[in-house]
Symmetry: C2
Subunit: 113 residues, 2 copies
Amino acid sequence: MKNSQLYKGSLNTIIMKLLEENGKMYGYEITQKVKVITQGELNITEGALYPALHKLEAEGLLDVEIEKVDNRMRKYYKLTESGQRETVNRLSELEDFIRNMQSLVNASPKLEF
Amino acid sequence: MKNSQLYKGSLNTIIMKLLEENGKMYGYEITQKVKVITQGELNITEGALYPALHKLEAEGLLDVEIEKVDNRMRKYYKLTESGQRETVNRLSELEDFIRNMQSLVNASPKLEF
DNA sequence: TATTATGTATAAGAATCTTATGTATATTTG
DNA sequence: CAAATATACATAAGATTCTTATACATAATA
């Protein structure tokens, strides 16, 4: 997703949050939305995105619905009920994660006199 | 490190930050320190920690110094100069990462009336 | 007409981690 | 005293997640 390894493991949470927020989205739309929100800092690659969407669907967390717009295929994804419940958990985990990382980082640096 | 995949990719940054803060630490000490700081939420496994330390050393970011305490071996790690410079970058990346994740998550959820 | 944008997909390989196992000494508990 | 736990390091097999490259197809732009 980026040169920084930190984003590893966060893609599923990002997808689910965006779907919770927007109701339904298609893959390409997700990449563009993320790019805008992060001001170009985070670029989700197709090689990461599509397998992730397929897996979430296989796990029953997403439903898919195919549409044809301007003669081009779009696969709209939305959260299932199970997916909505799981999204709450994932966002809670993300909050804990961020809090823990800030605890680790904000611990006062060594003072040098 | 935990059931949450979110921590994936953050171990190197955690190690380097703790070493910046504490001067020198040995592996087991790092696992205990992290456990305390995160109030038991984050447990670094040896299978993740030791390969990570070895790799950071191989990359020239850490120096190692062996001591024997109570007849038991300890390998103290500390940041090299290069490691200190790199730590600044990693912490900056972590800040960007957290900021971006918060932007993605704090985006107003769908309002239901 | 060629490139860029839109749109989805997969396969090979890299990176990071989990889980399990191994070795060894010191301390605590039953 | 014996067994379990704590301290301390290490690695190997496999899982998961991602990058990079490639593929196909249509629409819009240069």
